[in-house]
């Protein structure tokens, strides 16, 4: 489903802040896999997602999603293949638009937009049913602006929006990092449920080793723009947080492991 | 909020109700913008009506200023029409057009409109034909260019600095270009869009022309000192189209007094108040012109004014 071949990304090439965000990275992810990505700050995790989403253009290498070469394709033109949830709860929806309107925008991701009324009565019934079905308590707030929702509600909304319209892959960029523990757990549970029910291929960047260990079926560890560990659960059935920490420190080249990573 | 707004609106209407239609003779005057020349016109009109009122007695005078804004001018015109004055007076073309558009019945007298026919305010100068007539501030161009010829008999090429965005200037320059060949002049144009461009425009004329002429253009006149400097540096005489500018350094000008224009317009207003119809009152131009000279400035620009010219001057500036 996802084929990344020899991708390199350098920011500010030649300048004072030159950074090799990704260094000749190659990766294969099969359809239906749920991959978690961990690493220290600056390891290249977000850049990796950016390359897949189309926010970042690599200077060499290719990216293929479901067989299509999307390396040079703009983000908006890949949206039919790629669904995303951002770290900042406010980034995934429009403050001024209502919940229903946000869902309507997401509903047409990857499709053509015409002149028919958006978020009409039938659409809203559909949204309400979907929200109730997923256990997200927003059905009664369809007409409220997204700005009035809490962080957790907004991330739940972003998640529902990401899965409302079909996509080939789902990218989650530390999407529970900005939430309190209870909300984070709720959103994570929703994530797992949605990925499982829709059989999505998902990539989840997380700062939490606990999440990496408990969620999904493969862990990727990045450092210095490279993949230093690739741990499919089939080969590492008894993966623990301590184990990960050890691996991290061993090949991490002295990069610090933060409390958040270890305990989160 | 609701009761407050309602009270506010009610108060507004009540206060302004008192300014509804009047029975006595009212003269409603409006100017497009604050400007010394236009302000002088206003003073001329009001002084004239006070000192030589019409037979029906001194009228009540109302005045508004559009602050340079077309939409405000439109609202002023509508407001006046609603008050049904005996005569409306427009100082400058844009206001005259707004008023003419707002009413075909109430008599309108304009002042300081350079080209009323081009502005479609009148059908012809002799028989305006509608409800509009007035006094034009068309410069006495023939007298002015004759002055240049007399002051500089050898001059052939004249440069004109003006703003093509000002209707009055464009009307003047068109007339100058038609008239110039008959007087043996060739014309070079140096257009400016704003006052800060004036010095540069003046410099482009150096070496190309024998003298510079500045028409009654608001943009250029407001930055006239810049041209004086160019003239002194390059020994290039600068003539003007109005007499006030001579005090500021122009070599000489044949012009009229905007106050006198105002008084002439005031006389016309009195005639209308006494019953004359604008359709048959011919458009007037200012007849009284004066010659102002500034020999000191001329010398700085490398020109010695002929004695006869100086002798004719109504005022010799700088002595």
């Amino acid at each position: 489903m996802i084929e990344i071949d020899h991708i390199s990304v350098t920011f500010d090439r030649g300048g004072p802040l030159e950074k090799h965000a990704l260094n000749d990275v190659s990766l294969r992810i099969d359809e239906g896999e749920f991959v978690t990505v961990i690493g220290s700050n600056g390891a290249g995790k977000s850049t990796l997602l950016g390359v897949l989403a189309g926010d970042v253009t690599p200077e060499c290498g290719t990216v293929r999603i479901d067989g299509s070469d999307v390396t040079r394709r703009q983000a908006a033109d890949r949206a039919g293949l790629v669904a995303r949830v951002f770290q900042d709860p406010r980034a995934g929806s429009c403050d001024q638009l209502s919940v229903a309107e946000n869902l309507a925008v997401a509903q047409r991701r990857g499709g053509r937009r015409g002149f028919s009324l958006a978020a009409g009565r039938d659409d809203r019934k559909e949204y309400a049913a979907l929200l109730d079905d997923l256990g997200v308590d927003l059905a009664r707030r369809l007409d409220q602006p997204a700005a009035g929702l809490s962080g957790g509600q907004r991330q739940a909304l972003a998640l529902v929006m990401a899965t409302l319209s079909p996509s080939r892959i789902l990218l989650l960029d530390e999407h529970t990092a900005a939430l309190d523990p209870v909300m984070a757990a709720n959103v994570l549970a929703l994530t797992e449920r949605v990925v499982r029910e829709r059989r999505l291929t998902a990539l989840m960047v997380t700062h939490s080793m606990r999440q990496a260990v408990d969620t999904g079926d493969r862990v990727l560890m990045l450092h210095g723009g490279r993949i230093i560990h690739d741990l499919p659960r089939s080969k590492h059935p008894d993966l623990t947080v301590e184990h990960l920490l050890e691996l991290f420190e061993r090949r991490g080249g002295g990069a610090a492991v933060t409390d958040a990573m270890a305990l989160g | 909020m609701r009761p407050f707004t309602a009270a506010f609106v009610a108060a507004a209407l009540a206060v302004t109700a008192g300014t509804a239609a009047r029975a006595e003779q009212t003269v409603a005057i409006a100017s497009i913008v604050e400007h010394p020349a236009l302000d002088a016109v206003y003073k001329g009109i009001t002084d004239q009506l006070k000192e030589a009122p019409p037979k029906s007695g001194a009228p009540k005078i109302e005045f508004s200023n559009a602050q340079g804004n077309q939409a405000t001018a439109a609202q002023i015109a509508r407001k006046y029409v609603g008050e049904n004055p005996a005569v409306m007076v427009a100082i400058a073309t844009p206001i005259a057009q707004s008023m003419a558009s707002a009413t075909k019945d109430i008599p309108i007298v304009f002042a300081a409109v350079t080209d009323p026919i081009a502005a479609k305010l009148v059908q012809s100068d002799e028989k305006p034909g509608g409800n509009v007539t007035g006094v034009s501030d068309l410069s006495p161009l023939d007298k002015q260019f004759e002055l240049i010829h007399r002051a500089m008999p050898k001059a052939k090429r004249i440069g004109i600095v003006y703003n093509p965005g000002e209707t009055n200037s464009v009307a003047l320059v068109d007339r100058i270009k038609k008239m110039a060949p008959k007087m043996g002049f060739t014309i070079s144009e140096a257009p400016v869009a704003k006052s800060s461009d004036v010095i540069q425009a003046g410099r482009t004329l150096v070496g190309k022309v024998d003298a510079i002429y500045v028409p009654t253009d608001n943009t250029v006149v407001s930055a006239f000192e810049g041209l004086v400097k160019v003239g002194e540096d390059a020994k290039l005489p600068v003539f003007a189209g109005d007499t006030d500018t001579v005090k500021r350094g122009a070599v000489a000008a044949v012009g009229f007094d905007y106050y006198a224009l105002g008084r002439q317009a005031g006389r016309m207003v009195a005639r209308v108040l006494d019953g004359a119809k604008p359709a048959t009152i011919p458009v007037e131009t200012v007849q009284e012109t004066q010659l102002y000279v500034n020999p000191g400035s001329a010398e700085k620009m490398g020109l010695k004014l002929p004695k006869e010219v100086v002798a004719e001057a109504k005022e010799v500036v700088g002595k």
Binding site: A79, A104, F115 | K79
Partner: protein, 311 residues
């Protein structure tokens, strides 16, 4: 004020209401402050006036004037999206260029329309006095234009436009081509402003190269006045927002009318701008001031009651 003056304010308010809708689309919906409007307003008037004096049917002339506005908007948007020029600067550049373009179109700084047939000639012949007929016709037109705009903004494409302005990153992640939205939105905004310019020139029966100066200021003032007048719960609705722009524009003109009539208290004609600004400030500021005072009074009363309850 007289009925004629009142209706005159309404008529001019409706015309500038169209312009303030255009300003609202770029400024509020797209988050793209567009200064082109000072130029495109005059372009609308210039194109319409020149074509009408050239013999073209006034309705066709008005449509072409709107097309000119679309072009002006596309130029600004293109500078911003294609060349990365800051939106404010792009608008300023187009506005400056339009000054010369407008002069070229008209051939001179002022084109009078007195005696020509305009879109208003139709209603002038109905038999109702023009000062009633023209505002009524404009009201019908404004309602139609606003309804069409609302319908567009509530459609899927219109919603995409709103998303592009509200959160461009999210919009792109949802497949919306934000650059195209900017071009469409800025073109649409300037189309409305050019329409207003064409109507204003025909209403005043003259087009002047300087007629657009101040459009952005009046447009923004109208938008903000309208927003302040809309009650809280309605504020998010598109229908209320567009209506508010038009209402705000009319209120602004009424304030100017009111200011024009204040000479009896010793104010001079030259004080008009200051008086208008103060009146607008009073109209907007006083309700807020009273609300805050009421809130403080309520808080004080609650604080006074609490110790007694606790004691």
């Amino acid at each position: 004020m007289s009925v004629i003056a009142l209706l005159g304010a309404v008529e001019i308010g409706l015309i500038f209401g169209l312009a303030s809708l255009g300003v609202w689309i770029t400024f509020r919906v797209l988050d793209f402050p567009d200064l082109t409007v000072d130029g495109s307003f005059a372009t609308g008037g210039a194109v319409a006036a020149t074509l009408i004096t050239g013999g073209l049917d006034p309705f066709a002339a008005t449509v072409i004037a709107v097309a000119a506005g679309v072009l002006a908007g596309i130029v600004t948007a293109w500078m911003n999206t294609r060349f990365g020029i800051l939106h404010l600067l792009a608008g300023i550049l187009t506005m400056i260029a339009l000054y010369s373009v407008n002069l070229r179109i008209m051939g001179r700084p002022n084109v009078p329309l007195l005696g020509e047939s305009t879109v208003f000639s139709l209603v002038d012949d109905i038999g109702v006095p023009a000062f009633w007929a023209e505002p009524a016709a404009l009201l019908v037109l404004t309602v139609l234009v606003t309804a069409a705009l609302n319908r567009y903004l509530l459609s899927e494409t219109g919603l995409a436009l709103r998303a592009a302005g509200a959160n461009p990153r999210m919009a792109r992640a949802n497949g919306i081509r934000t650059e195209r939205c900017i071009i469409i939105g800025v073109a649409l905004g300037n189309a409305l402003v050019a329409l207003a310019g064409a109507l204003f020139a025909q209403s005043q029966q003259s087009a002047d190269v300087s007629m657009g100066i101040g459009t952005i200021v009046v447009g923004l003032a109208s938008v903000i006045i309208g927003e302040t007048l809309v009650p809280g719960p309605l504020r998010r609705s598109i229908v209320a927002a567009t209506a508010a722009c038009v209402v705000g524009s009319i209120v602004y003109r009424l304030v100017v009318n009111f200011a024009l009539n204040l000479d009896f208290i010793g104010l001079r004609a030259s004080d008009l701008n200051l008086v208008t600004a103060l009146l607008v400030l009073a109209a907007l500021g006083l309700p807020t001031y009273r609300r805050r005072r009421a809130a403080r009074a309520a808080a004080a009363a609650a604080a006074a009651a609490a110790p007694r309850a606790a004691a």
